[in-house]
Amino acid sequence: MLGKLLKYEIKATARWFLPIYIIIILFAFINRLINPFQKVGDTYTATVEGLNFLNFMRGISIFVYFALIVAVIAMTFIIIIQRFYKNLLGDEGYLMFTLPVKTWQHIISKLLTSMMWIILSFLVIISSILILLNIDNLFSELGRLISTAREFLGDNLMILIPIVALISSAYSILTVYNALSIGHLFSKHRILASFGAYMVIYIVGQIVFTIFAFATANKILVPLSQSTAMVPPQVATLIASITVIYALLGIANFIVANVILNRKLNLE
């Protein structure tokens, strides 16, 4: 059943994301063609100088491109909130919550779909920048970049950084879900209550991180500040710990949201 929920969740959201992805890639190519960036020595600089029609078009197209990047980021956030709020807590909830499906499967299907779009939005933005910059020998350059990063960061961090990015975004999404669920407990001003709940959850997270920082200061933060190495070994420990804390906080959000939707659901 989780598979079917995922299928419909992706269908419901793809009609927003796919068109904007295509437009972004398209505008990256347009900008590359009319070439507002040029490689001078080792750096890329804009070449818009003087006021004529071509430069005007260059200016417009680069503006549209950046507007699209902002739009896709904003859209990703809005859709994450809107899918949970409208599809589960709005009138559509009457359909979703009477399907022979467990509540946790609804939450997980929305979480996984949201994460998929976050990753895809990230990849689309990166790809569009690469298209825009028009780098010679793109793939060998990318390979060189990765091997340099690996040399600098070490194997552990190369694995840990993407993991912490994924886990922390899952945590952020679950915080939103939990805040919306807590807001749903109120009979009036549900949206306002959700904002309040979000703030509280955020502060709780900050407190947990602060306690952790103090409790482990002697082992992590103090040696980290005294170390003279470019990338001290404590960085990996720190990031691994942050990952674990985000995972635990995320699970807590998930459990609270699940209990509320199971036992305290009260659709209008």
Binding site: A12, F97, T98, L267
Partner: protein, 232 residues
Amino acid sequence: MNYILECNNLTKTFGPTIALNNVNLNVERGKIVGLLGPNASGKTTLIKLCNDLLTPTSGEILIGGKKPGIETKRIISYLPERTYLNDWMRVSDIIEFFKDFYTDFVPDKAYDMLSKLNIDPKDKLKTMSKGTKEKVQLILVMSREADLYLLDEPIGGVDPAARDYILDTILSNYNESGTVIISTHLISDIEKILDEVIFLKEGQIVLQKTVDEIREETGKSVDALFREVFKC
């Protein structure tokens, strides 16, 4: 006796408001039952409790002997008073959706009813009028071979001409071994199809009888009896 719906000392409160007060109720299989009562008498609350959309404050509710959950959702076909259709699907997409999630859904039945009502399966749900959406929902709900149909105000929002069609749809499509519970306050319109009625008043059952019993004992129609019981 294996009842399709049992309520034992069922109570549901919302803060200080008591929506259902110690309800005891048994409904048999294979019946068409009218759940009748004025506004705010607890009809929708009872139906939501059956659907696991609300959790009882105390007491228990059993559907085919089971507490509300995945197993009971499989055998209940529910028509809420709200429009739950989303705005991005076509009619044919929502039919696929029902087919995917409910094993007892019969798409041919749905397409057949759609064509009788001149609704194009290619139409988007978004562009439909409220009345058409209600018809689509009823078609989806009645195209399942469910054990229990829970219809909350199925004729509330449609014109009298469409009411007859809807009642015919309900009668000619429900799974005969299943039970249909129809909640409404428009009694005269549905009286003729009911086997049994339940009167709900301020969260309590005040009467549960077959329509024949009512006629024999009081010589009145259900509508007349309702007006008497709920006289203001």
